[in-house]
């Protein structure tokens, strides 16, 4: 039968090793001094463990710089993807008039403006503007596929990476620290131009519809959970690995060539 102390020790296992080494003993003392049930402290221990592990990952000022890069490159990418849709719509209007589709989608216009605004605001350090733009952009990225979700849920899955990217840019915009333009920004912008221009090669407004869908199979709770949790877990793991990488780099002496990288 597990004693109260055993259960507290189990919860403390959730904390990172450093934190446990420093505080576990005295925390057990505090926890055992309280005659109340284990569940009284359980939630705070869970939250404390997550906070401690998050602090480990957001170590030092570099992560704000990383957020800046993610925000800038992410916004360039999302703007390019939105512009590509314009290019596609223009190409179809010009080369396939039989389809008779309205050339410009109002939602897409908002999207293009929003992401372009984020790029400009990021470079000029106007946080309120970049957050507002990212919020508008994310709203459109969600609204656009939602129009077709009931008929064809798979369209949402196809563009979910765009929705996730928009969420990342929004989060990054709230915490980023402005800095000089990151190396490779020219390359990323050029890639964005190529991506957008590629839209002109579109000739059919429908990608692949080999059959008519009679009954749409909507996403279930597990699938929604996976869509949200897997990117979050990927971030968690990547951030953890990155911290280890940074720590091993810091072990390199400051004046060696490797440290200049």
């Amino acid at each position: 039968m597990r004693t109260k102390e055993d259960r507290y020790r189990l919860l403390l296992e959730l904390y990172p090793a450093d934190f446990r080494r420093e505080y576990a003993d005295e925390m057990i003392g505090v926890l055992m001094a309280d005659s109340g049930p284990v569940r009284r402290h359980a939630a705070s221990l869970l939250g404390g463990a997550v906070t401690a592990r998050l602090k480990q990952r957001l170590d030092g000022p570099q992560w704000r710089r990383a957020a800046f890069v993610a925000e800038l490159f992410g916004a360039i990418l999302l703007c390019a993807v939105a512009l590509r849709r314009f290019a596609m719509a223009t190409a179809i209007t010009l080369f396939e008039p039989a389809y008779n589709r309205p050339p410009f989608d109002d939602l897409n216009l908002v999207r293009v403006v929003a992401w372009a605004l984020v790029v400009v605001a990021t470079l000029t350090g106007l946080r309120a503007l970049s957050v507002a733009g990212a919020l508008a952009g994310l709203a459109v990225e969600i609204a656009a596929p939602s129009r077709f979700y009931a008929e064809s849920p798979v369209t949402l899955l196809g563009v979910f990476w765009i929705v996730m990217s928009a969420a990342v840019v929004l989060i990054a915009a709230t915490v980023s620290a402005r800095g000089p333009r990151p190396r490779g920004w020219l390359l990323v912008t050029a890639a964005g131009v190529v991506l957008a221009a590629n839209g002109f090669s579109a000739r059919s407004p429908y990608s692949t519809y080999a059959f008519t869908i009679t009954r749409a199979i909507l996403l279930g709770a597990v699938q929604w959970a996976a869509l949200i949790l897997i990117p979050a877990a990927a971030f968690w793991v990547a951030a953890g690995l990155n911290v280890r990488l940074e720590r091993s780099r810091q072990a390199v002496p400051a004046d060696s060539p490797a440290a200049a990288a």
Binding site: G29, V30, L31, D34, R40, S44, L45, G47, G48, A52
Partner: protein, 120 residues
Amino acid sequence: MSDGPGLEKPMREPTFLVLTALAGEPRHGYAVIEDVAAMTGGRVRLRAGTLYAALDRLRSDGLIEVDREEVVQSRLRRYYRLTATGEQSLTAETTRLSTQAAIASERLRLRGITFGGAPA
């Protein structure tokens, strides 16, 4: 962010309460929880996770430090105390809160509401 002192964000209540608890005398974790509960008339009952997240943060920010360690009933008991920086920080926050309370109190007085000396 390195803004001037006037632009610092207001302190969160748990932080303020923990610093106040340590301003009286060096205390260990459980004593801080009890002191905060007494101060707030039972309203704020700090849980272990929240307390140690705060203690760790305050330590790394240099506002508190370890005063001494004891072994009581074969358990480690660590006492914490305010540093000079912690004292400054608590003073600044107390001044801020007092100023705001004084303004509110004066305006309420003009509306005919009087305040007693001690809390209810």
